[in-house]
């Protein structure tokens, strides 16, 4: 079977607090999955498990048929706070990723490739700048460029645009879709967010995680044709119906938590 992400019976607890319970999920190659959930639903934790930064207490994680045993270049991560090394220039941050992904390349070649990726994400003007000189949106673009430079077929994104203003968020969403659609074969993307509109605009599929402990409480296909246009999407009734049902699911989950607390 071609590359796919399989999660079976994932249980994860931290300090006697159960964070994830019985997560079963299969994501085929090239799919863009939006992972939605209220805060505390364990969606970031789930992403870290898939990235191999933490191990579940029970269950199986497999990517491309191989069990996930630790972090690796085949699973790139874009964190919410970009995690660029502040003591390196933007191009060096990318070049070091290229050097690990393709160690046979020389220094000049790595720099040239890094510049290329930076151009792709619209950072021509920031190539030799340092993270402290950039705005939040630019740093996040650089983080995306770094994940692309790794060449990972699976991209894990943890609320990457959460800290940005609405205008920059929209621009980066479009940039991400542009890059994703242009690649062949398409990368598999798991995109964590708490923004329903973002989830529906970007994804082929929305998986909703309930909270405490995190469980898959909904798994819906998003069938709007690609090259989506925000205006017409927000005008369509199908979009609103989907949005309503998701909002209801999330609200019901929140109420459940309030009652339980």
């Amino acid at each position: 079977m071609s590359q796919s992400l399989r999660l079976e019976g994932i249980d994860f607890s931290y300090d006697a607090q159960r964070i994830l319970a019985g997560i079963d999920l299969t994501i085929p190659a090239g799919q863009f999955v939006s992972l939605l959930g209220a805060s505390g639903s364990g969606k970031s934790t789930l992403l870290r498990l898939v990235a191999g930064l933490k191990a579940p207490q029970r269950g199986r994680l497999a990517w491309n048929g191989k069990p996930i045993a630790g972090p690796g270049l085949d699973r790139g991560v874009v964190f919410q706070d970009y995690a660029l090394f502040p003591w390196m220039s933007v191009v060096d941050n990318i070049a070091i990723a290229i050097g690990k992904a393709r160690p046979e390349t020389g220094k000049a070649e790595r720099r040239a490739e890094a510049v290329d990726y930076l151009r792709k994400v619209g950072l021509d003007a920031a190539i030799d700048k340092y993270p402290f000189e950039l705005s939040g949106g630019m740093r996040q673009r650089a983080a995306i460029a770094r994940a692309l430079a790794l060449g990972s077929p699976l991209l894990l994104m943890d609320e990457p645009f959460g800290a940005l203003d609405p205008v920059n968020r929209a621009r980066l969403q479009d940039l991400l879709l542009e890059i994703w659609e242009a690649a062949s074969p398409k990368k598999t993307i798991v995109f964590v967010t708490h923004d329903v509109d973002e989830a529906l605009y970007l994804g082929d599929r929305v998986v909703i995680l309930g909270s405490t402990p995190g469980r898959v409480i909904a798994d819906l296909p998003v069938e709007f044709p690609r090259h989506r246009d925000r205006r017409s999407l927000f005008d369509s009734s199908a979009f609103h119906e989907l949005r309503e049902s998701i909002a209801e699911t999330l609200a019901a989950d929140t109420l459940k938590q309030l009652v339980a607390a």
Binding site: P71, F79, D81, F85, K100, Y130, F132
Partner: protein, 278 residues
């Protein structure tokens, strides 16, 4: 291109925030002048007090508080000797401090990233580090072949512990997101320590170096009292034996200036090295 998109374009250009300049240049100069006056106040008062004490409480032929002008002349006359002393003191300071920096950073970072090494070495450090290195001085002089070596040894011990402990703390405190990032990139071993842990720990390391440098000066001047034939500490001790207070005070002022310049130099290096900090 519509006006709206042009506005958005300019918004995208990242800017390092710059402080608002004073609206009028005169206001800025006035403010700076006021700051200089405020900072100089303590010096002016002390100098005035010194002149007053020397004028109105002369206390005989060889006063304990020499007149500022007498001291100034003593300082001028002693400059060659003080310069030789500076070179001699620095020939102890530099080897000791540099060695302490190198070993302190390397060992601190190794221990800071390894829980096993921490368990093995931190308890020992907790006992050994607080021992004042001054108590090692007589023993070091007895054991080591030359005075210089024993002084360098004592300076090394004094500077090593603060640098080691700060480097270890800096390595231990490496932010999780950088560690995660490094793991995903597959950085490990020397490359990881050199390209990630060391730069991240630099702010802590510089703090340790500043403390270590201060200790170094204290220790080398004390060591010189014991057995040097040149040096800044030796200068003050020698003229104390002759009760030559003008020269003593001149020596103290000169040594103060040298230490100030050294610390300022370290601060300048730190600012250059940590330019990437917000």
């Amino acid at each position: 291109m519509t006006a709206e998109s042009i506005a958005l374009e300019t918004r995208e250009l990242g800017v390092t925030p710059t402080p608002h300049a004073a609206s009028q240049p005169s206001a800025g100069i006035g403010r700076r002048l006021a700051a200089i006056v405020e900072a100089s106040l303590v010096w002016v008062i002390l100098l005035a007090g010194w002149f007053a004490a020397a004028e109105y409480f002369p206390l005989g032929d060889n006063p304990l508080i020499p007149h500022p002008l007498v001291t100034a002349r003593a300082l001028w006359e002693s400059l060659p000797e003080l310069w030789t002393g500076t070179l001699s003191s620095f020939s102890i300071l530099i080897p000791g401090f540099v060695l302490a920096t190198l070993l302190g950073i390397v060992s601190g970072i190794s221990v800071g990233t390894s829980p096993r090494l921490q368990r093995a070495l931190f308890p020992f450090a907790r006992v050994a580090a607080p021992v004042p290195p001054t108590v090692y001085i007589p023993y070091a002089i007895a054991v080591l072949p030359t005075f210089k070596l024993s002084a360098i040894f004592v300076v090394f011990i004094g500077a090593f512990w603060p640098i080691f402990q700060n480097a270890a703390a800096g390595a231990h405190a490496l932010e999780e997101r950088y560690r995660d990032n490094a793991r995903i990139l597959g950085l490990s071993g020397f490359e990881y320590h050199w390209r990630v842990v060391f730069p991240a720990a630099l702010p802590h390391i510089f703090s340790g170096m500043a403390v270590g440098l201060g200790f170094s000066f204290i220790l080398l001047t004390v060591a010189e009292l014991f057995g040097a034939n040149a040096g800044l500490g030796r200068f003050v001790q020698y003229y104390a034996d002759f009760a030559d207070y003008p020269k003593m005070v001149a020596g103290i002022l000169y040594t103060g200036l040298v230490t100030f310049l050294a610390m300022t130099g370290l601060e300048a290096i730190k600012r250059r090295a940590l330019f990437w900090q917000r």
